[in-house]
Symmetry: C2
């Protein structure tokens, strides 16, 4: 892994950027190639098919996204009950490029991803782990299992739906309004029902 790592790395980085901007299906290997600055032979040497390139790029993007979420959610070393709900709120309110859409969530309506078992599984794993992490934090906040899972689903849905609203209306404030509406309800109801 000397000069080859560089070409490979540049290809993956370029692919991540283009996939985020315009989706996997709509991005051709040729475009990635042009953006990365490497030659055509290099691309097909490191990634024999488009699937291989997509797997590397999507895997890297998912790993980044999950790490970012965990930085918000797993902040406290001990189980601090009062702080746990604040960590979920911090996750919800983290500044996001709303008009760009979620790099991972957008893949769920990308035909090229959902038709490929390997890629779809990576996306599935991301959301399963994210939901688990949010639910665990809500249990730390004192919520019973059922309510924690339901509210975790709601929290992640708010973020994903916020992206959709922002893109649809062309207004980043649409996402912030959705988060605000949900956070107000969430923080006023910290621990009843299931």
């Amino acid at each position: 892994m000397n000069t080859s790592t560089d070409a490979r790395g540049r290809l993956v980085a370029a692919a991540q950027e283009m996939f985020a901007a315009q989706g996997v299906g709509a991005t051709s290997p040729r475009q990635v190639l042009a953006a990365s600055g490497v030659g055509q032979g290099s691309l097909y040497h490191h990634f024999p098919t488009k699937h291989d390139l997509a797997a590397a790029a999507v895997g890297a993007t998912v790993a980044d996204a999950l790490a970012a979420a965990r930085r918000d959610l797993d902040d406290a070393p001990d189980g601090d009950r009062t702080d746990a709900l604040a960590r979920v709120v911090a996750y919800l309110e983290r500044p996001r490029d709303a008009l760009a859409g979620c790099k991972v969530g957008r893949l769920t309506s990308d035909q090229a991803v959902m038709d490929d078992d390997g890629l779809r599984d990576v996306v599935t794993a991301y959301f399963v782990r994210l939901l688990d992490a949010v639910a665990a934090t809500l249990r730390d906040a004192g919520l019973p299992e059922g309510a924690a899972r339901d509210r975790a689903h709601a929290a992640v849905a708010i973020v994903q739906g916020g992206y959709v609203l922002a893109r649809a209306t062309g207004d980043p404030d649409a996402m912030r309004a959705a988060v605000r509406g949900f956070v107000t309800l969430l923080t006023d109801n910290p621990e009843e029902t299931a």
Copy 2:
């Protein structure tokens, strides 16, 4: 409008179905043509370009979706305060084909739609009107302007995000869990803050 209406209608219906299933960008005029059963000449007679076909199909899909939402939200002829919140809950809990994704929401990550001013405007108008309708119903329920708008954004985001979660996890219950988590909070907090 005699036999031509039939061919045109079948083309639009086929396009709506295929766009919903696999997106606009991923659907070729040739596929629509094959699914509709009409000949190639017919397609290009009624719709000179793919844009024209997409505009007709997306317009029809958006009109259907908005009408469905209004059936849930505008149910009462007078301003029934206690009933209004129930109408929003009915909108949220309406059975949906969660694994298929939202026919309109998915368009927001479709490059072919967002790059086309005409198509994007149709999608934007749908969400603006939907948000207005939900917010109006929440004001009927007694919420002040600011809270009504924020919670309307949250409600629509829950539905859109619910679709994303269901598709991502391959589990229709993921959407139901998100709706349940939100509805529980919403119905316990009918009218404070802004």
